[in-house]
Structure formats: structure tokens, C-alpha cells
Amino acid sequence: MLALAWRNIWRHTRRSLITVAAMSLGAAMCMPMMAMMEGMFSTMFDVAITQQTGHVRVEHPDYPETLSMFDTLQDAESMLTAMEALPEAAAVTWRAYGAGLLGTEDKSVGTQLIGVDPVREVAVSPTESMLDQGTWLSAPGQILLGHGLAEELGAALGDEVVIMTQAADGSIGAGAYAVIGTMRSGNKMRDKQGAWMSLADLQELLYIEDQVHEVVLLASGGKGGVAALQDQVTAVAGGERLVRSWQQAQPQMAEMLKSGEAQSMIMLGVIFFLAGFGVLNTMLMSVFERTRELGVMMALGTRPGKLVQLIIIESLLLAIIGAVIGGLLGGGLDYLMCTSGINLGYGDLDLNGVVFPERIKGIFHPDQVVMVLASMMSVTVLASLWPAWRASRLNPVQAMKAD
């Protein structure tokens, strides 16, 4: 049966090739597109989640509402040590936030100050990709400016900037720092108005001693391990502190990711639905052409069910070939999408506070391949059902007279 089906396909090489071409093209187009969407969502996730809330975040219960300098986590150090020991935690860091007037000799601007642990932060945020120019924090007295902020101030690497702010005790806090780099984090607000400095420096500036505003953790099990991590963190953090997963902190992001998946499915559905029309017609005609031959098979004793099988197997084989070619082609395009990315040529794209770089890179996930190929196979088989059914309804005598 398999051999017969295989040979039947190749009786009409060109026709089969065109059918295969349509399917593999659809597949080849879908894969890089899905990769691109994945890339975009990943960037959004990074900017909105990883850089801020992590997988799990611990804060003073009032802080999310007030964002007040005074709503801090006390006794953070011992908590941090305990967190780092948690089996489900892949990385832990802590941060403090403030605001001040940051400026050069000529100009100063209202700035959001982000105090990070130079060592621990690297394991949590994608600091490498966030850095635009210069190097990451390594010593006290250093500062990184959002690239928009640096531009506005006309500050370059090596320049010194001064920060003036209101400290916790009501006095004016002031400090001078060396600009050792600029940031392109993707977070529009921070890139325009933010500055990163070491936690210790900010704590000193704001006079908040060893207090922090948040402790942020990444789960060793990735997105899937968040629930487990949250449980462990809650146990350690104690009742007075607010422990939230990223889904709780940013419910919209969770929704958006889900909707992104739905969008991919719809796109796949549409493409293969339309390709299906071509397959349907082709198979119908192919069955019709062979009426006599199929009639002979039935006369010789082949059961209708077997004929149905034959037609379906033929279309499955076509689908498999399409899958192989489409997979290779799509895989190639996907690879290009993930390494070089695609330049939409319209400058930075700004969506919901996230700034996407001009060159958007895709991210590969085996699911993409699986989904695409599965859709293709199912549509092809579905399209062959009607022709197969018609084949089974042939009357052998009339069929043999045909043609």
C-alpha cells in the first residue's frame, strides 16, 4: 500500500511538486514569523519582567501603591542569604530606588535612580544586552546613564555628574559619580530618565543604610518553576512582606503572552486553511483521473476502505515531503531570523513602554517547528478526506467504463 501510494505520487511529478511547494512555502514562512513574534515577546518579557519584577519579587506590602522611598524591606541581608540558599532559586538580587536631579556643569534633569548590586544583578537582568556603551558597574562612585538621559545632558563616558536629592532624614543628599557607560535597556522611561548606580552608593546617598525596596529572584525551573519558587520564598520571607510572582505583579503581561500564542495559531490556521483549497482540488482531480484504475482495483477485490486508506496515505506522503522541505527551508530562514534578525527599516519601535531595537531578532523554539508541521499535516489529511470518500463510493463497473 505504501509503495503503491508512493509511486502514485510520482506519476505526476510536476503536480506533486507544486502541491509540496505550496505547503512547504507556507511552513517556511510561518516558522520565521513565529520566531520573530517569540523574539518580540521575549524582549517585552525581559524589559517588563526580568529587569523589574523577576520571576518572584519580595517587597514592603505598601510599596507597589506608594512607590515611596520609605516603604523598604528591613533586615534585607539575612533574608537575602536565606533566599540564595533556596533550591528553586537560580539567582537572587536586591534593589533600591530613588529620584533626584542629576546633572553636569551645564544642565541637570530629574532622574530616576536605580540602585543595583553590581555582582548579583548580572545574574538576574540581561545586563550585557542592556549596556549600550562602556562597561558595567564594578566599583563605588560609578554610574550608568540611560542613553536618552546621556544625550540630553550631553554627558560622555568619563564625565562626572552630580546628583542632588532629598534624603530619608529630610536633608539634601548630594554625590558625584563617574559616567562609565550608557544603557539601552528597552524600557523607554528608564532609557530617557534613568540612571543605574551601585546599591551601596544609592543607600548612602538616600541615607537609608542597608534597606532595599525589593528582592528579586529567578526560578531555576524557568517560567515553569515559578510557582514552586514562590512557595519557598513565601516560607522564608515571613508574613509581613509581599511576595508576588510575575503573573501577579504584571497580569497583563501574562495575558499578552497567551494572546500572542493565540495569534500564532490563528496565523497558522489561516495559511494552511488556504493552502488546503489547492490540495483539495488537486486530490479530487487525481482521484477522478484514476477512476478506471480504481474501478479495476475494486473489481479485483480491493475493499472501499482500502481505497480510502490509499488516498489518505498519498496525501500524507505529500505532507511529509512538504514537511521535510518546509522544515529545512523554514529552519534556514528561522536561523537567519534568530542570528541576523530582520530590519524593518523604520527606526526604533515603541510599544507600551518597550522600545524594540531596529533589528528585531527571532528566538527559536522547537514548538514552532512542531506546531507548523502538525498544522500542515492535519490540513493535508483533512483535504484528502473528501476525495478519499469519493473514491470509496465508486461503482466498479461504471468506473471501469470511464475514460
Binding site: R14, R15, I18, T19, A22, L25, G26, M29, M33, E65, T66, L67, S68, M69, F70, G98, A99, G100, L101, E105, D106, K107, S108, V109, G110, T111, Q112, E152, M164, T165, M189, Q193, E255, M256, K258, S259, M267, V270, I271, F273, L274, A275, F277, G278, V279, L280, N281, T282, L284, M285, E289, L344, G345, Y346, G347, L349, D350, L351, N352, G353
Partner: protein, 412 residues
């Protein structure tokens, strides 16, 4: 009587099922493409409108360097005088002035860096929807130099409510190494849906913001806003001809490039997708037409034998393609119009996933997408469908010209 057209039509009707499936396939593809575009078009139109009206104008006057460097110092002086001149030239438009400054908003409990937006409240309320999004208190009164409006998130963070006091600390316009402080009272609290406005902006009047700027009667932007784009060219010409005192005139296309970029990028992505769809459908049509042509090898052979020229036979096949395309274009457009209808009335609601608004290029984009009929574009897609179908029949038509009557006759 028969002609190429009549023969082509009859040929297509020979195998009604095949023709129907082919036409349906193309029509479905076309209608999907048209509907998707109409949905986007509705979105873009609204976006552009809010963007132009709310953050710029059809024509704007700005400091020549302000578009590239939004420095607080890049002001247009004597803004009132210029505004009057613009009003005289554009009696049917709304003329407004805007100031984009920045500083630290401080309250007893918190200090937050924000932008300070100075507006003409009476006119601005007609241009942007923020005045309708007040949660507490009221919109600003003209001339109120001490009043400020803040977003609900900002209010919470500062820990101030209605009638509360905030101080704006900013660099002194005349001596940047010094700072100035100004006291404001919160007259109202709003929720606009644009993160920047809600979290990082304080809105006051022109009079309230001018102390933060250097120069006489300064502002950053004068905007001329019409109801639509039709007057833009004329208004721009008039503005350029004015005595601008060093300011530069721009049309909206140059004033809100981010928005335009977003729309163009989105359109391009969609067009690529549409093209892929078209190509896949066309491949299906190619196969179908090839098979239908090969089925008729004997009949074509006879036609060539009795003296029909190959070119004419090819025209027959192409005509079949044209008819298929035309039928599909008609059906597809009807379906497209039908699918668009519910989207144009009820719309597609993404608010569950994205919240009520999504901010892009500084403008709040509604997550309830409402489609708008774009007949010109729909027609263009329909025509493309016909063209693509004809192209799909080109290869089969070409193959027909290569047939030799004798091979066809012997083809048993």
C-alpha cells in the same frame, strides 16, 4: 454565438466543483486580507488622529532644533503674538500652544522626576481626551498659573490628593547650576491610559509653566489643528510665509515621525503576510489550471490541427484565468465587506489581554479595534487577486503554445 469569452466561461462551468473550490479558495484569501486591512485601517486612522490632535497638529511651529533635541531651552518666543497670527490665517482651525518642560515633583513623602506639560486648557480639551478622563476634581481653568493636574498613579506615589500641594523643582532657566521651586495646588486627578501621562507628567497652564522657561512669552510648540488632512498643505504654505521670528514650521508628517513609523512598519509586516497568503493560494490555482489544461490535450490538439493559432489558444486559457479571477474578486470582496461589518460595528476587543489602552509612540491606542472600510485598498487587493490569478494561468497558457497538434491527437 461563441467567442473566446464564451468558450472560456463554458470551459470553467464544465467542472463546476473544481471551479467552485478554486474560486472559493481565492475568494477566502482575498476576503481575509481585506478584512484584516480594514481592521488595521480603522486603528491607524484613530491613532493618527489622536496623535496629531493630541501631541502635535496638522501644522506646528517649533524651534528649528526642537524636533531633534527636545531641550527645554529650544523655545519659540512671543508665542502669543504668533498664535494670534496663526488664528488669523486659519479661522477654521484650532490654534494652541504647548510647553514641554521637566523637573522634580516633590511632596512631603516623595520626590519624582516628571515632565511638566503647559497647555491652553480650553483648546486642549477639544484636542485630547484627557479632559474627559478626570477621576477627581476638574480640568484646569484658563490662566490658572498655580493649578496642576496629575495622573492617578502619580498622585498615589506622591501621596497627595485633590487640593494637595506639590512643589516643582527644576533647573533655573537663566542659570542651570541653580534651581527654582514653584508651588502648585492639585486641581484634578486623571487616568488617561497613557503611561507617560499617568505616571510621569504634571499638567499645568501655559502661564504656570512659563517660569520654567527662558525668554519672553516662550512656548515649545504652536499647533494648528484642523478636522482632517485636507487643509494641511495650504496651512503649511501660509505658516511658512509668516514672520516666524526664528521658529520653524513643520507638517504633521515630520512632527510625529514615530507614529508614522509605527504605522508603516505595521503595514509592511501585514503586507508581507498578505503576499505569502496570496502566493500560496496562487500555487494552488497553478496546479488546478495545469491539470485542467492537460486534461484537454486532445481537444486542444484538434483545435490546433484545424488551424487555430497557438497564441489564440493560449488566450483562451488566460481568459479562463481572468474569469476565475474576476469571479473570485467579486465573491471575495463581498465576503470581505460582510466580514468587516461586525468588526466595524462591534469591533474586536483585546482589552482582556492588553488592558484598555496600549501606548505606542506616545499615543494611547484603544485595544477595542474598530474596523473602517477602506474601499480603495479593498479594490486594490481585489485587482491584485485578478492579476495573480491571471499570472497563475500564464504558465499553463504557455505550455499550451508548446503543444504540437500531432502529439495531442496521439495522446491516448
Amino acid at each position: 454565438m461563441f467567442s473566446l469569452l464564451s468558450m472560456a466561461a463554458r470551459n470553467l462551468l464544465r467542472n463546476k466543483r473544481r471551479t467552485t473550490i478554486t474560486v472559493l479558495g481565492i475568494a477566502m484569501g482575498l476576503s481575509l486580507v481585506q478584512t484584516a486591512y480594514n481592521l488595521n485601517f480603522g486603528n491607524y486612522t484613530k491613532l493618527l488622529d489622536s496623535g496629531i490632535r493630541g501631541t502635535a497638529g496638522h501644522v506646528v511651529l517649533q524651534h528649528p532644533q526642537w524636533q531633534d533635541e527636545r531641550e527645554v531651552d529650544h523655545v519659540v518666543e512671543n508665542s502669543q503674538v504668533l498664535a494670534e497670527a496663526l488664528r488669523a490665517d486659519n479661522p477654521q482651525a484650532l490654534i494652541t500652544r504647548r510647553i514641554f518642560a521637566g523637573g522634580l515633583l516633590t511632596s512631603p513623602t516623595n520626590t519624582i522626576p516628571t515632565g511638566i506639560l503647559g497647555i491652553d486648557p480650553e483648546i486642549e480639551s477639544q484636542l485630547s481626551s484627557t479632559s474627559e478622563k478626570m477621576v477627581e476634581g476638574a480640568w484646569l481653568e484658563p490662566g490658572d498659573a498655580k493649578g496642576i493636574l496629575i495622573g492617578d498613579t502619580l498622585a498615589k506615589r506622591l501621596g497627595v490628593g485633590l487640593k494637595g500641594r506639590v512643589v516643582v523643582m527644576a533647573p533655573d532657566p537663566d542659570d542651570p547650576s541653580e534651581s527654582v521651586s514653584q508651588l502648585f495646588r492639585v486641581r484634578g486627578i486623571y487616568h488617561s491610559g497613557v503611561a507617560t501621562l499617568d505616571n510621569f507628567t504634571g499638567i499645568t497652564t501655559i502661564e504656570g509653566a512659563q517660569p520654567l522657561l527662558r525668554g519672553t512669552d516662550a512656548a515649545h510648540q504652536l499647533a494648528v489643528v484642523y478636522d482632517d488632512d485636507t487643509q494641511t498643505a495650504a496651512a503649511f504654505a501660509k505658516a511658512e510665509g509668516m514672520e516666524l521670528g526664528g521658529a520653524a514650521a513643520l507638517s504633521w508628517k515630520d512632527a510625529v515621525p514615530d507614529l508614522r513609523n509605527f504605522i508603516q512598519a505595521d503595514t509592511q509586516t501585514n503586507d508581507t503576510f498578505f503576499f505569502v497568503i496570496g502566493f500560496i493560494v496562487v500555487l494552488g490555482v497553478v496546479n488546478t489550471m495545469l491539470m485542467s489544461v492537460l486534461e484537454r490535450v486532445r481537444e486542444f490538439g484538434v483545435m490546433l490541427a484545424v488551424g487555430m493559432r497557438p497564441g489564440r489558444l493560449a488566450m483562451l486559457v488566460l481568459t479562463e484565468g481572468v474569469l476565475l479571477g474576476a469571479a473570485a474578486a467579486l465573491l471575495g470582496t463581498l465576503l470581505g465587506a460582510a466580514f468587516t461589518y461586525p468588526l466595524a460595528t462591534t469591533g474586536l476587543d483585546f482589552s482582556a489581554a492588553y488592558g484598555e489602552t496600549v501606548e505606542t509612540a506616545g499615543v494611547a491606542m484603544d485595544t477595542l479595534l474598530i474596523a473602517k472600510y477602506a474601499p480603495g485598498r479593498m479594490a486594490a487587493y481585489a485587482v491584485s487577486a485578478i492579476v495573480m490569478t491571471v499570472l497563475a494561468s500564464a504558465w499553463p497558457a504557455w505550455r499550451v503554445t508548446r503543444m504540437r497538434p500531432i502529439q495531442a491527437i496521439q495522446h491516448l
